[in-house]
């Protein structure tokens, strides 16, 4: 039996338990019915708890079937690419407000293009990065008057 098939259902079970604990610890409402703010979340929390147990049971029932969902990660090179994309996303998050929209976007998009489109197409990557960054900056900051850092 593959244990990995239980990872996500167990995480959902955990989420429902934590959610229920947090719900029971919600402060009482000072106006009206004191438990008004927690009744509906309780309904949701218990529903999720029940469903996550059903989910686990259905995985137990299917335990003899081959579990292929995570096969998508078998191409290591692409999996690493996705992880790098996520790291770049976090990086963009950290530099976005610090060094401003234009430079951070050029760095982020450039890095993404070099990663996904490949180094060999460097000229295209650079042109796309610079054009897109300037056009999007112009569209949002000038035409749509969105204040960008």
């Amino acid at each position: 039996m593959e244990i990995i098939r239980f990872i996500v259902p167990s995480i959902i079970l955990l989420i429902s338990v934590i959610y229920l604990i947090l719900t029971f610890n919600l402060p009482e409402s000072k106006v009206g019915n004191p438990t008004a703010a927690m009744n509906y979340p309780l309904l949701i929390g218990f529903s999720l708890l029940g469903l996550s147990i059903l989910y686990i049971l259905s995985e137990i029932k299917d335990r003899k079937k081959i579990f292929e969902a995570y096969k998508i990660f078998s191409d290591r090179e692409l999996t690493i690419k996705v992880i790098i994309v996520l790291v770049l996303c976090l990086g963009y998050t950290f530099i976005f407000e610090r060094i401003g929209f234009l430079i951070s976007t050029i760095l982020f998009l450039g890095a993404l293009l070099f990663l996904i489109n490949g180094r060999r197409k460097w000229l295209m990557n650079i042109i796309v990065t610079i054009l897109f960054s300037f056009i999007s900056w112009y569209t949002f900051a000038e035409l749509l008057s969105v204040s960008l850092p």
Binding site: A36, C89, L109, L144
Partner: protein, 501 residues
Amino acid sequence: MGVDWNSFLEGFTTAMSFQNLIFIIIGGLLGTVVGMLPGLGPATAVAVLIPITFGMDSTSALILLGAIYYGAMYGGSRSSILINTPGDGSAIAATFDGYPMTRKGQAGQALTLSTLASLVGGFVAIIGFVFLAKPLASFALQFGPAEYFFLLVFTLSAVVSLSKGNMIKGFVSMVLGLLITTIGVDSQSGVYRYTFDIPHLSEGIDFLVVIIGIYAVGEVLYNILLINNEDQRIKDDVGRSWITKEQWTRSFWPMVRQAPVGFLVGILPGAGGSIASMISYSTEQQLSKKSDEFGKGAPEGVAAPESSNNAAAVGAFIPLLTMGIPGSGTTAVILGALIMLGLQPGPMLFQDQPDVAWTFINSLFIGNIVLVIMNILLIGFLIKILKTPPHVLYPIILVLAFIGTYTLGYSIIDFFILVIFGIIGLFMKILNIPTAPLILAVIIGHQMEQNYRMASVSYDGLWAMITASPIAILFAVLTVASIFLPALFNRLSRVKVDNKG
């Protein structure tokens, strides 16, 4: 009862204004481009492009979003026919005979057929819309909190039971969506719920961030994992675009009679374009004298589902605009955008802002014609776009997702939320957990809680809520039916197969 012809004509004039026509063209083109990308459908197109509507007046923004949605539907069929890769569920049926036609060297004709069928489907559905919208809106005005609560519950359960994958996963997805909406300050009691002392969370998680995370970031991450699988090459030569007389006579009636089918299916919550196009495809296959040609490039096999899914796309706007109930992931995204624009779809929309509603309906009609012209004239250009490597477009979509998110709340915390939902979206896709119930729940969850609480004040207990009125009973019964009927049908069909076997 009936049609408010004055507002209708006024709407037509507004939709035909130069500025709005430009928006229809831009939206149609942008939607087509994103919709053509393998794996990306109308929901992603609308989600990523919402920020460009900032600063516009709400009518123009709605027109632009409608055009993007429509364009993405057209774009989705392009990639179905040319490279056998549907952008979303409703374009799947177009691959059955569209791609075989491409392989026979009839790509141009398949595209023309699909375009004409979409026009017929859209046209018939818009006529239906004009006559049904107002009566339905007046009907919905009678709803109280209990009725609304059960209508919302029914919508959610219908979306779950009709989405792909198993029901447990669908309900998990739905409840997770509802859970997300409880984060933030409770508007009635002022209690801070699940905010972990992060000030930004007191306003709750913006549903648009969730949508962009799941539909844009999640989809792009998923597609990066599959990026090497694109072995389909598109030929430059699509053959002639003019369809033959035989193709036309074979497809004409299928596209005309499947349009109302698609329209009616589209109105039902949860059903939408995927189911409509499948039903139309299989009925035409059964009706056809040349049913053995289906799957091998039969022209009516392209025309029927394409007419039907476009009609369903218009039909889906009926519950959305008249009752504020989105019937699918994509219309949920549009509802999200509308709320952001300050429009509250629902019965009051047709009373308070009839101009907005009718301008939009007219713009759908004009948009259809514009897209047909665009798709026939620009076929070569569109194929060039389809040849733009996704390796370049995926990074751009990712960056657009971030910019869009920033413009929603000017907060970096939303970037983290975006990435988290991107990862959640990726795993949902991998594990075949339907995303539509989550998206829908995130958008209507708040409304659902408010109606539940109002109803629980007026009625003593759940039973009293259910029996509040015949309408409430009807929706409660429909909810139960939507949960158990699919399972029952499954069992019955299994029994049938067993007997045969």
